[in-house]
Amino acid sequence: MNSKETQYTRRSAGQWAVAWRRFKKNKAGLAGLAIVASFAVLAIYGLLLDPVPARSFGCLYQGCTNLPPFVDSAHPLGTENSGIDVWNEIIHGSAGDLYVGIGATLISVVIGLLVGAAAGYRSGVSGAVLLGLTQIFFVLPVLVIILLFAKIFLFLVAQGLALSLIVLTLGIFGWPLFAFIARGEILRIRELEFVQAAKSLGASGSRTLFRHIVPNLLSPIIVLSSLAVAANIITEVVISFLGFGDPTTSTWGLIIQEGFDHIDSSWWVAFFPGIAVVICVLGFNLLGDGLSDALNPRLRE
């Protein structure tokens, strides 16, 4: 009994080890991982060390407003019209945007997995209801609704909380896709031979679900999560760019908006934070693609 158990554990660890070995060979995926890790470091650096406070107007009194990039080493990417340092905003913005991207995705994953598992485990009416719900969320102009929510939140509540409320809104509107995928995967995996085999060997319902079904369900969810973080970051940038975000917290969209207002005099204020957005989102997309290749080898060769 004991030897069988260890054998089983080794094999299930092996599944992820194999995936990691495959992932390591994928240069694009590794680049994605490196990019995501660097932004995480940047965000933590900004949060913990905080060398220059976010949105600091210090330059306004030192005459270094509207400074072009690569001129002053104290302000490598230049300063904005009212003296805000662009590079410093990118550092502080990465904390804000990663918070929105990852936080909202986590909320979506949790709700999506719960709803999807419930619907997948008891197919029938609940399946039809879930299908209808996902339809509603596909039709809802989600961005428009989120903008509306953000505006109303900002109108109603304290501004410092607004970013967390955006996280919540994005999370709540992002779950249907996860539920849809989770339900489909559960319905598929449930009928596979190894699950039938486990059941016929007398595995309990919860053991079948958590040891056999969930690990196989995780790979599409992980891949989708990485892509969802990318999409959520873009949505957040759009929200702040349109002026519906929290004006007191640094985000990339906010500084792009400020740059766009003075686009004819200082192009760098909108340009460099945009580069940060593209690289960060690219990182999550590459990571997602790499994970997809590593976890679903069927699609490779």
Binding site: V139, L147, L156, I234, N285, D289, L299
Partner: protein
Amino acid sequence: MGSLLNYIIRRILFAIPVFLAVSIITFLVTNAAGDPVQIVRLGIRNLNPAQLKAIQDYFHVNEPLYTRYFLWLADLLRGNLGQSLYSGSVAGKVVPWIGSTLELQIPAVLLALAIGIPIGIYSAKRQYSKSDIAVTTTAIFGISMPTFWLGINAILIFSLYLRWLPSFGAISPYPPWWWGNIYTDQLAHIIMPLSVLTFVSLAAIVRLIRSSMLETLRQDFVLAARASGISDFKVTYKHALKNAVTPVVTVVGLTFGTLLGGAPALETTFGWPGLGYEFVLSATILDLPVVLGITMIISAMVLAANIVTDLVYALMDPRVRL
């Protein structure tokens, strides 16, 4: 054909509860902002009691929420979108811009499809070749870019630096026209937003067609077709493409929805007088009836696009009609 008709009817009937659910959600969200009277007061300080009473009566402020919803829904179904909080009717503020939004969105989707499908096939046929790597790299950058930021860069280069194209609006307000007359003027205005929108949707479509085609080309029926001596061109474009393109149809339907939803940022960047721009302007001043009207119109458009997509899907794949 009977089954197809049946499918269409079922699909349209299914759209009704979805539309109602969407209307409930949007109505609740807009009502969360609170009393219209308070919002009007933000703009107009000294309302006299008669004006106050008129506003309260018009928006049925003293009725319970569900009564207000049904009153609003009844108006909506009769085609009456109500009055703006500031001036004029909602319909007057919204309807003129539907056309200019579609004028931008529909060509973008069609262009992206026309360019994206051949590129995706080409890339899948030469997997891991230099041209495939160039295509996939460009595509992943394309999907990683906020559309509006690409628009800002286009404005920087083509309007501010080169001064080739106008950066704002759909038409010059007064002469001189760009490139001579009023028609070329409109053309000059649409080039940048249309190219930016096309590029971003193109990236998504290329990635989709490529991966779908890769999967299809590996299937047994393709091998069987090749084995029976059918030419490579015919196998690719007739046998494989037909199967690879079906999942793309669904995504194009969804993309259209995302495009319409994503319109606010792009339209604001280019000052394009569309629904998205009007939405941003109205939401900024909390003109809730207008916001509600635009949201419902966009939802209805997305729903219609989804039904059309499903029909195309059903025509292409008979199994769906069952």
